[in-house]
Symmetry: D2
Subunit: 188 residues, 4 copies
């Protein structure tokens, strides 16, 4: 029997499930967080010579804790999988399967990730997306039968966002040292 | 026998197919272009009292001729359909099915449409998306069993983009009249 | 005497100065944070009937603690002041002075603020920007001799971003209550 | 005596003035359109080996004919000039003068330019902005006493937008050849 009171209980997401699914799906699609951390290191080591892989990984994890990022990762990976399985309608199927040049929804999702720590990450995103170092080269290998039209942009975007987060934090640390004050670190 | 030369011919999209599919899918999902034109009229009549429904419809058609718009429409409708059929993985399925408040990828796709004629359309988009006049109310009716998590935002965004296009054109027409010159209308 | 070692010390911003200047300039331009909090209340009370003005104000303060937001506020107010003083070159001067319809840089800056808590704030921004309740009506009054071409959009954007922050927090609180667990509140 | 009827005539921009001012200010700030065309060639020659400098320059001109682009160019150059003259309030003055790392309004304006032909240009923008080839290296030379905090990003963005426009056009041309039909070239 339906309870009218229950019907009014709004659907309420379990955030922990969304966070966990994001990590699991990245893993299932062959992305190790350490590989994203390596992209961050590549982008940031010339600015912060003492930067450690541990810090890079920590920043990748912080980026992945944001709902906006989780939404983009899950949506992009879902579209990649459906394209791989041939389950999208035509001509969307062909566009995703072939990573078509005039299809830019993958870049749009990537930008919602980069944006999480502001516009200073735009440049880093474009740079790794063009050069395709490390894991990005593997995700772009069209000979594997896998489709990563969204995922390669998403991985580059997570690295760019983590780089922006580092820039904000390092500035705060520098100011603390310079001024000898214990100013608060920026909220995330 | 495979021709190595042929293998190098890149996948090449048939743009006409993409344009046609966009219109067909809007129609299949219950959206008449006239209803989008009515949203445009609602947004613009106070600025241009002589604006006709024909002009509104013409501007909706011009918005729909853009590849960026077609990409967003097709991707959004595809995700709506898959959610309706229960074919997405969890928890993406539940988020789309329930138009979850913290899921913002629908707004992101909508913004790639609004952006096609620049930032002056942002306000119009937010306004119709909040008030949900006409067709937007119908698309938001959760009692039908249909899922339009993406489509309602997309329809509002097309109306907002068409409004921006009208603003650009009307300015050009006004200048022509004021100055008695035959200045070129803006490219689309 | 110049110290070559000193010359290599990069220019380093004092973040506290930027934060303080942001609040001071909002105040000097006639914007009380309580008035922004009232816009937040207007946007959110129907979703959270127990929402207090104190919470709204707290969320406005959190939005203002973000560097991305401070950059947009300072840049926008500076351009408003220069327009008011007639110090911009032509035709930028005329465009800002008259809040010209096809000038959309004010919306672009506003969006960099809204974006700070993700795309779910887009709608709220458009809505208040169109309806111009409370302080927004005053900022738009063209008869005062003051120019607030940027500031009105910025104030609406701060209110929209604070609304998004509330939506994220309230979801976390709800989950804590439902599950009886002490899950972490989202980082900012 | 004031004419009440005249008072109601809305301020109406002269679009030609805006377009002309945009070109003049780029010139005065040392940017030749040919140099932007060279960036376009650098970005696109590997995809279109037959691309000519004339085509690149034509596409740069088409990008510059857009109001959204003109608004961003004029606003950015105005802020650069005021920073160069020391006329901004503190700490905005110091941030622009030093092209401060956490100031991202220049990237935001740049993105409103790139966006004009859709999201496919994001990558090209980030790439040239990071590598700083040709004119971008000169604009970034901090030893000249000139301030181009906005202009270097703007020039890279114009080149990226022109590249996107070329991608759209070349696709249309290819389809015409393949199908032997005279399909319409995309509107601009």
């Amino acid at each position: 029997m339906s309870d009218p009171k229950n019907e009014k209980i709004p659907y309420s997401l379990n955030s922990q499930k969304v966070a966990t699914a994001t990590r699991e799906w990245l893993h299932k699609r062959g992305v190790k967080l350490e590989e994203i951390a390596e992209l961050v290191m590549l982008l940031q080591k010339k600015y912060y010579p003492d930067l450690t892989m541990e810090e890079c990984l920590d920043n990748v994890n912080k980026v992945l804790s944001k709902r906006e990022v989780q939404n983009a990762v899950l949506t992009g990976i879902q579209l990649d999988i459906l394209a791989e399985e041939g389950k999208l309608f035509s001509p969307l199927q062909e566009m995703l399967e072939n990573d078509e040049g005039l299809y830019g929804v993958d870049e749009i999702l990537a930008f919602s990730i980069v944006n999480v720590y502001g516009s200073i990450g735009f440049t880093n995103y474009g740079y790794v997306d063009k050069l395709k170092p490390g894991i990005l080269e593997r995700l772009n290998d069209k000979s594997t039968g896998e489709t990563h039209t969204f995922l390669d942009d998403i991985v580059g975007a997570i690295a760019a966002a983590a780089s922006s987060r580092i820039a904000h934090r390092k500035q705060a640390e520098r100011e603390q040292q310079l001024e000898g004050i214990t100013s608060e670190l920026p909220e995330d």
